[in-house]
């Protein structure tokens, strides 16, 4: 998904600055986040956030569980709440409690298909590994991650 695929912007219905938010699921906080500015266009169900950051605990038993708490951030995030999709861009960063770091310019999320994709170069590293690719396709729960477009990396046994 590219930024151009989202509908053109109209005037915002709501603009919030210095935002902190939390998402509840089953009566518990499932994630927390902040944004420098968040604008909401009600008719399109569209959110636009700048300097957005999200703290996301990995679901126990999921493919992401070994990473611990996830810190996601992007200078720009556009989301369509009705379509359950969004795009983080201008430098997306993922840092994990375990020490993993991933960087890419743009990431798209498709909630209907539970897919996270990127068509921009990715670099990632963590305990005992580092890897680069030109993009990736992953299931949102981390059960499958596919690095595409040419992959290279290193598994450092001494780092374990």
């Amino acid at each position: 998904m590219s930024e151009a695929s989202l509908p053109p912007e109209g005037p915002a219905d709501l603009i919030l600055q210095e935002v902190a938010f939390a998402r509840f699921s089953d009566g518990k906080i499932s994630s927390r986040g902040t944004a420098e500015e968040l604008s909401y266009r009600r008719s399109a169900g569209r959110l636009l956030a700048s300097q957005a950051a999200l703290r996301l605990p990995a679901r126990p038993g999921s493919g992401l569980a070994p990473l611990g708490l996830l810190h996601l951030s992007a200078p720009r995030v556009e989301a369509e709440t009705t379509a359950r999709r969004g795009v983080g861009s201008h430098g997306v960063r993922l840092d994990s409690e375990r020490g993993d770091r991933a960087r890419t310019d743009r990431v798209s999320y498709d909630g209907a298909r539970e897919l996270v994709t990127s068509d921009t170069p990715l670099s990632a590293e963590g305990p005992g590994y580092r890897v680069r690719s030109r993009g990736f396709v992953a299931r949102a729960d981390g059960s499958e991650v596919q690095l595409v477009g040419g992959v290279s990396g290193r598994l450092d046994e001494r780092g374990r």
Binding site: A65, G68, G126, L147, G149, V151, D156, E157
Partner: protein
């Protein structure tokens, strides 16, 4: 025979350390503890490089780090149970498929299938039933049903080896050397002993000579030149109509002589000779029998022509 020496002398143990990889795509499946590499796969460590079309990496199970004594906080305990994840785990094994090529120093190999065991530090190369794996060093070629390379040493095990030793005999200006071909059920290259041991149904062919036996040791010097091919355990030599048997055979590549010892007996068109030692020159076909005794049958002139 230089390949044996090259395999044993030139190659160094693959050093422990990071393992690099590249491919067109990498798909990880944490629950299976596997990663699938597809397209132009390259796996390397030090000077050891393997290329293939597809590879499957199998990772060890997660082993969460232990909490440090005295650090009883909830946060520390939580972090201590954090597993290293798939790519951070130790790779146990790679399954390699499709045009598998290995390079390590001057040595190269090709096969259809490979099993890289990261724990045992071995690479097993096999074919597809039609083509056997091939190990090369310069002009020397070694094939066999299965070639097992030990990465932490220079040892090589080969099942049903077929070896062409083009440089066994030093080249001369006027004559191209006859390659020596060796077949056996098994081959073990032992670097520390500077020895290549062929076992079970060993067959050595050079020109019109064939030598068979259950065991052969190829010995070489530090420069890589083969100094001796020693067959033992009951040996049979055939060269045209000539046949010889002995307990042992000692082939000297430089002298181009095969020396049979241990109750050697020579059978040649009705002639039977025994002695302490029988020496066969491979080029001139001259035979010398030490302390000979036996039976020589004069040829029938009408049958064999004038003599």
């Amino acid at each position: 025979m230089t390949i044996l020496a090259a395999l044993a002398l030139v190659a160094a143990a693959v050093p422990p350390g990071p393992l690099d990889f590249a491919a067109q795509t990498l798909r990880t499946e944490p629950k299976e503890r596997r990663a699938y590499l597809h397209g132009s796969v390259q796996i390397s460590r030090g000077d050891f490089v393997v290329l293939c079309d597809d590879a499957v990496a199998e990772f060890a199970e997660d082993k969460p780090a232990r909490a440090k004594p005295g650090k009883g906080s909830k946060k520390v305990q939580k972090a201590s149970t954090m597993a290293p994840g798939l790519l951070g785990s130790e790779v146990r094994h790679f399954t390699l498929d499709g045009h598998v090529r290995m390079q390590r120093g001057k040595r190269t190999a090709e096969a259809q299938h490979g099993e890289l065991d990261n724990e045992a530090q071995t690479l097993l190369l096999t074919g597809n039933g039609k083509e056997d794996p091939v190990l090369r060093d310069g002009p020397e070629t070694l094939t066999g049903e299965r070639i097992l390379l030990h990465l932490d040493s220079e040892d090589v095990n080969v099942v049903h080896p077929r070896l062409v030793l083009r440089r066994t005999v030093p080249e001369t200006e006027d004559k191209t050397p006859s390659p020596t071909r060796v077949e056996a059920s098994k081959l073990f290259l032992d670097r520390s002993a500077q020895l290549a041991r062929f076992t079970d149904e060993v067959v050595v062919r050079r020109g019109d000579m064939t030598v068979r036996g259950p065991l052969m040791d190829a010995r070489y010097d530090k420069t890589g030149e083969v100094t001796r091919l020693l067959l033992s355990g009951g040996v049979e030599m055939r060269q045209g109509d000539r046949r010889a048997v002995a307990q042992k055979a000692d082939y000297d590549p430089r002298a181009k002589e095969l020396i049979l010892t241990g109750q050697p007996r020579l059978f040649d068109r009705g002639d039977t000779l025994a002695g302490d030692r029988i020496t066969v020159n491979l080029d001139s076909h001259e035979v010398r029998v030490d302390r000979a005794h036996g039976l020589l049958r004069p040829r029938n002139p009408s049958a064999t022509g004038a003599r």
